[in-house]
C-alpha cells in the first residue's frame, strides 16, 4: 500500500488494544460478532435495494421514492450503526492482517465514498422524489449507489481471502 504517512505503527496499536486482544484470543467471539455483522449487512443491503429499485422504477412502485426513503431511513441508520459496531472490533482483532490486505483498503475507500454519496447526493434527491416517475438522474443515482455498496460488500468478503 502506498500511503502518504506510515500507518503501520497505528495499526500495531490497534492490534494491541484490549478489545483486539480479547477477540483474537477467543475461539468464538470473532465468529459471533461476524454473524451480527452479516445480519446487519442483510438489513442495510435490503434497505438500500428497496429504495434504489424504486428509483429504477422497480419493486415498490405504489409508493414514491421519497416516502420509501423516509420510512426506511431509521433502519438504514440503525443497520449502519450495527455494521460499524461489529466491524470495528473485528478489525481491531486483526488490524495488522488488514493493513497488508488490499481488499481491506478497497473496502474502506469505497465505504467512505458510499457513505458520502448516500447521505449527500442520494439523500437530497430522494427527499424530493415525490412523483411517480423518477427522472433519469434518479436512475443514475440508484446505479451508482448499488455499485458503490456492492463494491464495499464484495471487497469486505475478500478480506478473508487476501
Amino acid at each position: 500500500m502506498i500511503l502518504p504517512v506510515d500507518l503501520l505503527p497505528l495499526f500495531e496499536w490497534f492490534e494491541d488494544t484490549s478489545v483486539g486482544v480479547v477477540i483474537r484470543e477467543s475461539l468464538w467471539l470473532f465468529p459471533v460478532i461476524e454473524c451480527f455483522h452479516l445480519l446487519a449487512l442483510a438489513m442495510i443491503g435490503g434497505n438500500i435495494l428497496v429504495v434504489d429499485l424504486r428509483l429504477l422504477g422497480l419493486g415498490m412502485r405504489g409508493q414514491t421514492a421519497a416516502a420509501l426513503a423516509r420510512s426506511m431511513h431509521p433502519w438504514l441508520v440503525g443497520g449502519l450503526a450495527a455494521m460499524v459496531a461489529t466491524g470495528v472490533p473485528m478489525f481491531l482483532s486483526e488490524a495488522i492482517k488488514c493493513y497488508y490486505s488490499p481488499p481491506f483498503w478497497y473496502k474502506m475507500g469505497f465505504f467512505v465514498l458510499a457513505l458520502a454519496f448516500t447521505f449527500t447526493v442520494r439523500k437530497r434527491f430522494t427527499a424530493k422524489a415525490r412523483a411517480d416517475r423518477v427522472p433519469i438522474q434518479g436512475k443514475l443515482i440508484a446505479l451508482v449507489s448499488l455499485g458503490l455498496w456492492f463494491t464495499v460488500g464484495f471487497s469486505g468478503r475478500w478480506i478473508a481471502f487476501y
Partner: protein
C-alpha cells in the same frame, strides 16, 4: 445406498473436485452466496418488519409483500444455486456439521411458516391491509420469519469454522 455413500460419491464427482480445487471460483461463489443475503433476506425482512409493525406502517401490507416477492424469489434462487455449489464442494464435511443440520431444519421451518402465512391470514389481507391493526397471526409469522432466518444466517456463518473436523 446409504446417505453417507451418496455424499461420498458426490464428493468424488468431477464438479465437486473442480469447485474445491479452484482458486477463484470457490471464493466467487461464496461471495455471491453472502451478498445475495441483501437481496433475499433484505426483501423478506422488509415485509417481516412490516408484519411486526416496525417498518413502512403507512404502506399497505399487500404492497410490501407482493411488490418485493419476485425479488425475494430471485434472491432465493441465487442462494440455493450458490449454496448448492458450496455444499457440493464438500458434502461429507458439510452434512457432518451440526450447524449445517440445524440450518437445513431452520430453512424448512421458515418455509413452512411462509407457506402457512400465505395460505391463511394473508388470504384475507384486504381486511387488515392498511394501518396498524395487524392480526396476531400475521405479526407472529413476521417475527418467526425474522428469528428463523437470523438463525439460518448464524448457522451458515458458523458452519465455515473447522470446529467439528
Amino acid at each position: 445406498m446409504s446417505l453417507q455413500a451418496v455424499l461420498e460419491v458426490l464428493e468424488a464427482s468431477g464438479p465437486s473436485v473442480a469447485i474445491r480445487e479452484s482458486i477463484l471460483f470457490y471464493p466467487l461463489v461464496e461471495t455471491t452466496h453472502v451478498l445475495t443475503l441483501c437481496l433475499f433476506l433484505g426483501m423478506t425482512s422488509t415485509w417481516d418488519l412490516r408484519l411486526a409493525g416496525c417498518a413502512l406502517r403507512s404502506v399497505p401490507v399487500s404492497h410490501v409483500v407482493n411488490r418485493l416477492f419476485p425479488w425475494a424469489i430471485a434472491g432465493f434462487v441465487v442462494m440455493v444455486i450458490s449454496g448448492g455449489m458450496l455444499f457440493l464442494s464438500g458434502p461429507v464435511r458439510a452434512a457432518d456439521n451440526p450447524f449445517f443440520r440445524v440450518k437445513m431444519v431452520m430453512i424448512a421451518l421458515a418455509g413452512i411458516n411462509a407457506f402457512v402465512f400465505h395460505r391463511t391470514v394473508f388470504r384475507w389481507v384486504e381486511e387488515w391491509d392498511e394501518g396498524d391493526e395487524i392480526p396476531r397471526r400475521a405479526r407472529l409469522a413476521g417475527i418467526l420469519s425474522l428469528v428463523l432466518w437470523a438463525i439460518v444466517v448464524i448457522c451458515g456463518r458458523m458452519q465455515a469454522y473447522n470446529w467439528f473436523d
